[in-house]
């Protein structure tokens, strides 16, 4: 008598416990998944921004340093072909609030901001006086120097030094244009070992002084 009345109750109880257990597993899984995955738009925006600040991306010259004169390279074709952004995805890229490219974002997009240096270079040319050995100090952040040596007939430039290390040498005389790579991290002093009378203008130094400011590169993605 007792066993017969409880059998359906046991069944109901089992169904109840099983379904609650199932719901618990689903809820737990859902919340773990949600915690792990940022939205697709955000992932895309992070991905694009990561590519844009990478050296060799077309915009960046070094990690997180973008060249002000390369902002024109970021256009829709660049995004679609070089970065592989799908046709259905709209992207806007701005640098310090100035739009570089906008493929038609509607206004409810997800934005990711990156901190970068914006670098613009200023070209400087110097023709130092050579009496008593030249000593020109290049500012920091200069990466290379173009040196043109064109001495008169009674002068010979035998060597050029950078921070007292010989970088160019020729006993019978250096003539022509040379490029010297220098350390970006510290100032470099350029010296010349010459025989005879060098005149002003015989030696010409051209280099680019990078100047930079902090910028915000923002990538907005509209799924």
């Amino acid at each position: 008598m007792r066993g017969q009345t409880t059998l359906p109750i046991v069944g109901v109880a089992l169904v109840l416990v099983t379904s609650v257990g199932l719901l618990a597993v689903l809820a737990g899984q859902g919340s773990i998944q949600a915690a792990r995955e940022p939205s697709v738009e955000r992932s895309t925006a992070i991905g694009i921004s990561e590519r844009l600040v990478e050296p060799g991306s077309g915009l960046a010259v070094r990690q997180n340093v973008v060249a002000a004169n390369r902002t024109g390279e970021v256009d829709e074709r660049f995004l679609r072909e070089a970065l592989g952004v799908g046709e259905a995805v709209d992207v806007r890229v701005t640098l310090d609030g100035q739009t570089l490219v906008d493929t038609g974002t509607a206004g409810d997009e997800v934005t990711v901001e990156r901190i970068v240096w914006v670098e613009h270079t200023r070209r400087r040319q110097r023709t130092p006086r050579v009496r008593g050995g030249v000593d020109v100090t290049l500012p920091r952040r200069v990466t290379s120097l173009d040196l043109t040596i064109d001495p008169g007939p009674d002068a010979t430039v035998r060597a050029v030094t950078a921070d007292d290390q010989v970088v160019l040498a020729n006993e019978s005389g250096l003539v022509g244009s040379y490029r010297i790579d220098v350390s970006r991290f510290e100032t470099t002093s350029i010296g010349v070992d010459a025989v005879g009378e060098l005149e002003r203008g015989d030696l010409s130094l051209t280099y680019r002084v990078p100047q930079r400011h902090r910028g915000i590169l923002a990538v907005s993605v509209d799924g």
């Binding site: 416990v17 609650v20 257990g21 618990a24 990690q63 997180n64 997800v110 990711v112 901190i115 920091r140």
Partner: protein
């Protein structure tokens, strides 16, 4: 039968349901709520770290970060400069903390705040950059 009004299996089922619900609640509440801020904060921290890493040192060393992590004396000398640099670097709505092997620069890290973290290796040990919305 007359003694207990509720059948035993129903009681067992009720206890089971309670147990499972409790477990679910712990799981759901214990896992942090999904946040859309974390990737952005991580990106900020990474960028700040990279920019510090690529910055030339003020004195002799490989990079600015390496210089700060080099020794306790170097850290004391450079901490204000590092602090100024971070203030200049990060957007105004962010607070930061940089942990080096010889000390900490920046703000006190509050409890229960979502942070972005980047750990950078230097020759003298890891340097950790944390940023959060202030």
């Amino acid at each position: 039968m007359g003694r207990s009004q509720i059948p035993l299996p129903v009681l067992e089922a009720a206890i089971g349901v309670l147990l499972l619900t409790a477990l679910t609640l712990v799981l759901v509440a214990g896992v942090p709520a999904p946040s859309e801020d974390s990737p952005q904060l991580d990106a900020y921290a990474n960028d700040a770290g990279r920019l510090l890493q690529s910055a030339p040192p003020r004195h002799r060393n490989a990079t600015r970060l390496g210089e700060v992590a080099a020794s306790p004396a170097a850290f004391e000398r450079e901490r204000d400069a590092l602090d100024r640099r971070l203030k200049r670097l990060l957007p105004a709505n962010l607070l930061y903390q940089v942990r080096t092997p010889h000390g900490v620069v920046g703000y006190r890290l509050p409890d229960a705040v979502r942070t972005g973290t980047a750990t950078l290796p230097t020759a003298h040990g890891p340097v950790t950059v944390r940023v959060w919305y202030g």
